[in-house]
């Protein structure tokens, strides 16, 4: 299945802004992040506090819904999903 990935703000300094990825049935957000981690050097350190533990500020939207309110990293991927990764900025 095909999933469209979009990255915003400072994530764009270590990865592409948007692209498609293919996954087998049963893949989850965790699978996607592991793939990205392998694909982009520096992304793992930016996103993960420890292996398998996302940094608090990494917000992941599946079709406009924050996975924080779904099943977190275990949220399943579906064909045609748009996954947005954004670190909210904070300064004023």
């Amino acid at each position: 299945m095909k999933v469209h990935v979009k990255a915003f703000a400072t994530f764009r300094e270590v990865m592409d802004s948007q692209f498609d990825m293919d996954f087998p049935h049963g893949a989850t957000i965790r699978t996607l992040l592991a793939e990205l981690n392998g694909k982009y050097e520096g992304l793992g350190e930016l996103m993960f506090a420890a292996p398998g533990t996302l940094r608090d500020f990494v917000n992941i939207l599946k079709n406009s819904r924050n996975v924080h309110f779904l099943a977190g990293l275990d949220t399943p991927l579906d064909d045609g999903d748009v996954i947005a990764l954004f670190p909210p900025v904070a300064g004023g």
């Binding site: 500020f57 909210p88 904070a90 300064g91 004023g92």
Partner: protein, 254 residues
């Protein structure tokens, strides 16, 4: 029904051509709270004053430091050490002496958020951390006052307008905020984002267009790209999804 004075018609002639006399009169009747007199707040306050918002209440607990001068355009070198809120009010008065400017030297969290919002029509977020944003945004939601969120880091910025009871709340949009820290900021980005926030306030005051209320508007100054990231209201959101919100430990809304 417009009730602009001859002086107001003269002063705002070029923008009355955009918003009409009725729109200008609505702007004049709108009372803004600008939370923070930093990069976003000073930009927003300057344009709000020039646009003719009738009341601008500007809140900041701090004094001006040399490191503020790369972005906080209401302040001059001679102002270092002076209170931000009072100094901002004096600067705004020199730009437009016909509007009411209320400086408040207080921090969100020490001053009761509901008191700060009392009598206010629209809040502009010029804060620099999420604990303070949540306090003020929660109070604005409960008081039925729109909250125009803005934030920056480096060349990146974000804006969304939170309309109580209809749009996603700030906790739906940013359930996982970044930690409080000193953020790298370049002045042009606070200029861009502060201006977008005042644009939102003008739209709300005059009923023009649609606010950025069901998505987050993201600015990327490196690639000159803006994106609209649609965000849905979360039915199970711990704040807006329930009638009785349990305040997390360590936070207080007074």
């Amino acid at each position: 029904m417009a009730v602009l004075s001859k002086e107001q018609k003269e002063r705002y002639q070029r923008q009355i051509a955009v918003v009409g006399e009725d729109g200008q009169e609505k702007i004049g009747r709108t009372r803004l709270l600008i939370a923070g007199a930093g990069g976003l707040g000073s930009t927003a306050a300057l344009f709000a004053a020039m646009t003719g918002f009738g009341t601008i209440r500007i809140i900041d607990p701090d004094r001006i430091e040399e490191t503020n001068l790369n972005r906080q355009l209401l302040f001059r070198e001679a102002d270092i050490g002076r209170p931000k809120a009072d100094t901002a009010a004096k600067a705004l008065h020199t730009m437009n002496s016909s509007i009411d400017i209320e400086p408040v030297m207080a921090a969100i969290g020490t001053a009761p958020a509901r008191d700060l919002i009392r009598g206010i029509d629209v809040v502009i977020d010029g804060l620099d951390n999420y604990p303070a944003r949540f306090l003020l945004a929660d109070a604005a939601w409960k008081c039925g006052v729109p909250f125009i969120h803005g934030a920056v880091e480096g060349f990146y910025g974000q804006v969304c307008t939170i309309i109580p009871k209809t749009s996603p709340c700030l906790r739906c949009i940013v359930p996982n905020p970044p930690p409080v820290r000193e953020t790298p900021i370049i002045g042009v980005t606070t200029g861009i984002i502060g201006c977008i926030q005042v644009t939102e306030a003008i739209k709300l005051a005059t009923g023009t267009g649609s606010p950025i209320s069901d998505h987050l508007w993201l600015w990327d100054g490196i690639r000159q790209k803006s994106d609209r990231l649609k965000i849905e209201r979360i039915p199970t959101c711990p704040f807006c999804g329930k009638d009785e919100y349990q305040i997390p430990a360590g936070e207080r809304v007074r």
